[in-house]
Amino acid sequence: MSTKQSPLDQLVASLGLDTEDEWSHIVRERLVAYGLLGLYVVIIWFPIYFIFITSIKPAGAVLNVPISFFPSEPTVSNYVEIFQNRPFELYTLNSIIVASTTTLICVTLGTVTGYSFSRYDFIGNKALLLSIVGARMIPPIALIVPFFSIMSAPPLIGGITGSLYDTRIALILTYTFFNLPFAVWIMKNYFDGVPESLDEQARIDGCSRWEGFFKIILPMAKPGIAATAILAFIFSWNEFVFALVLTSSEQAQTLPIAVSLFVADDFVDWAHLAAGGMIAALPGILFGLFFQQYIVSGLTQGAVKE
């Protein structure tokens, strides 16, 4: 191999890549990949950037034309105001509790059920799976009224006072219903891709189905679990209509509701909406960053890869 560096190699080196260790064509491919990804990220982040700069413009200057894409006098007053005026911390807390509990339930049940569907040919396997996924095909709009009546019905179990209406539990139950079928299905399909010989080895090693599943198969399904978790989390994080109907106060209302409260009858309070939107997105983004490692490793540790 030649040791002199072409400009491309220099570029590669300056990007922190090892020119020596890599196939030069792979390096080239990577540069293209970086380029494309960079472009994509810039494009999809433009609206977000726009929202962000809007949120740091003085409320009165938001609508100025020509639009300033680089605000000259950034301010945090919009953020301060929305926290002063609204219990944003409560909405955020609600969102986090609802979304993470839902995610937890969906991932737990979805994984075990999906595994059973993938591995065992029990009676009615296909029909049950179909009915699970089918359950999710019913347009949610058609379910609003029945859900409301279920959730606002007096409790079936004694000792609990009041209905589930306007509680996080109502939302968790509902969102679980919406996400669980998909969780099952995603995981079923995922497990289909994990070779069964590993299940067998686990059984030889003395694992019952439970042990084999939890100790061997589950760790290998991380990518699927990560995808399922993200899906369930974001769905719950974003859900609006049911949150609207099933909650009525900040003890259970979630961020999407909070954000849409900036949309008044007659006008949209863009500056505060933008700030609220950033805040609504922020926990999600932070959550993403915080679990970045997990998500990435989850999405990467394809156990099946050899």
Partner: protein, 417 residues
């Protein structure tokens, strides 16, 4: 059934509230708490907030305010009522919901009494009264208003705002500049309201006394006006997407010389960057073939028929709409009062320029509305026709005729005709 439909403005009979008896108040000991559904965040309704505080102080009843996004308030309420749930005691909403709510037995007559009701102008009293019973206590007014950018007018050498449709067209030529359209009005989401406003100005109305849709003739005049505006490039291209927010935002962005929009816009403009009280010009809406009427979009407070605290709720509705409350609301939030007397209060006179009060009073008096059944669907039939007509994608007359026949068929279908 409740053949109430058209209550076309001035004409209809039942002058004052006859139903003095309120259901359910008698036996009920007044509750300590009530649940009030507010459209949107209370933060945007500081007047309401203030009045609630006063109410709580005076009565000792706690008001639990549930804020529901404006666009979804009706969905929330109907979901609750379809389940006959007592989750909500009182709510505030627009008058045009009333007919359907009453027909479905979802709201309760308020029994406000003549002394209270006589505070309001006749047309408003009629609007909230169905079958002789009052179902809503009008809280604050909203109606179309005409605002203009004085700075732009001056720059283009226009001294007076137009006072007729024709003048809108003629001064418009003068007001037009590169980035600025001479005129705009609220459309998206509010197309039917705006249409009605122009319709009233043109002397038309949607329904006659026997529930028949009769708007083609008046509507054609409106559409002619629109066509002139469009063809002379006096309204922006994006007009059909201009809701209240859009029209207001564009106005504040300095891209509109004048706008026919909803009242609170003026207050917003005052606060915006680069604006001042001096720059905001206000005038009575330009006169159409018939009048300078505007569309009445008053908000009021109603009480749920499923409420278990009707007594407290009715008390609340009444309290929130007294002259004092109306004044407070106007003072704190700038919401135009629906009680003419408020405009003569010294504090109000002090706070607002007299020309603005003048216009408000005028609008209050001349605002028109109709309550009709199956309102959302009627509006939808209208909307799907008038927007293409506005944009020139459809022949206006044909569009209106289609709308009219669709509405007629709907009314036949549901047994009104």
């Amino acid at each position: 059934s409740g053949g109430d439909g058209g209550d076309g403005g001035d004409g209809s009979g039942n002058g004052s509230d006859g139903s003095g008896t309120s259901t359910g108040t008698g036996s009920e000991s007044v509750a300590e708490k009530l649940v009030f559904y507010n459209a949107g965040s209370l933060k945007y309704d500081p007047g309401t907030e203030k009045n609630i505080e006063r109410f709580e102080e005076e009565t000792g009843i706690t008001v639990e305010v549930n804020e529901v996004p404006w666009n979804n308030l009706k969905t929330s309420l109907t979901t609750i009522w379809k389940n006959e749930s007592a989750k909500v005691d009182a709510f505030n909403g627009p008058t045009w919901w009333l007919a359907d709510f009453v027909a479905s037995d979802w709201i309760e007559p308020l029994g406000l009494g003549d002394s209270h009701m006589s505070n309001y102008p006749k047309n408003l009293q009629n609007l909230v009264t169905l079958d002789g019973k009052t179902y809503m206590a009008p809280e604050f007014g909203k109606w179309g208003t005409y605002l203009y950018d004085q700075q732009h007018f001056e720059k283009q050498g226009v001294s007076e705002p137009p006072s007729t449709w024709d003048e809108v067209v003629s001064t418009g030529q003068q007001l037009k500049t590169g980035d600025t359209s001479p005129f705009a009005f609220t459309w998206a989401n509010k197309d039917v309201f705006t249409f009605k406003q122009f319709l009233y100005q043109a002397g038309g109305q949607l329904f006659n006394d026997s529930n028949e849709p009769v708007f083609v003739e008046g509507g054609t005049k409106v559409m002619d006006f629109f066509t002139r505006l469009r063809e002379n490039d006096l309204i922006p291209d994006g007009i059909s997407s201009m809701g209240e927010g859009g029209a207001g935002d564009t106005f504040i962005a300095g891209q509109l010389a004048s706008v026919e929009s909803w009242t609170p816009l003026a207050a917003r403009a005052f606060e915006a960057d680069g604006w001042s009280k001096e720059r905001v010009g206000s005038a009575k809406p330009p006169k159409g073939p018939e009048s300078r009427a505007t569309f009445q979009d008053t908000n009021g407070i109603s009480v749920s028929a499923f409420s278990e605290r009707k007594g407290a709720a009715k008390k609340f509705a009444k309290f929130m709409t007294t002259t004092e409350s109306s004044k407070t609301n106007m003072k704190v939030e700038g919401n135009p009062a629906v009680i003419p007397a408020v405009y003569d209060e010294p504090e109000i006179k002090e706070q607002y320029p007299s020309w603005l009060l003048e216009d408000m009073k005028f609008n209050l008096k001349h605002a028109k509305s109709e309550t009709y059944l199956a309102q959302p669907q009627v509006d939808d039939y209208l909307s799907e026709q008038i927007t293409p007509a506005l944009l020139g994608d459809k022949d206006p007359q044909k569009a209106l005729e289609t709308a009219q026949s669709n509405i007629k068929r709907l009314y036949q279908d549901i047994g009104l005709l």
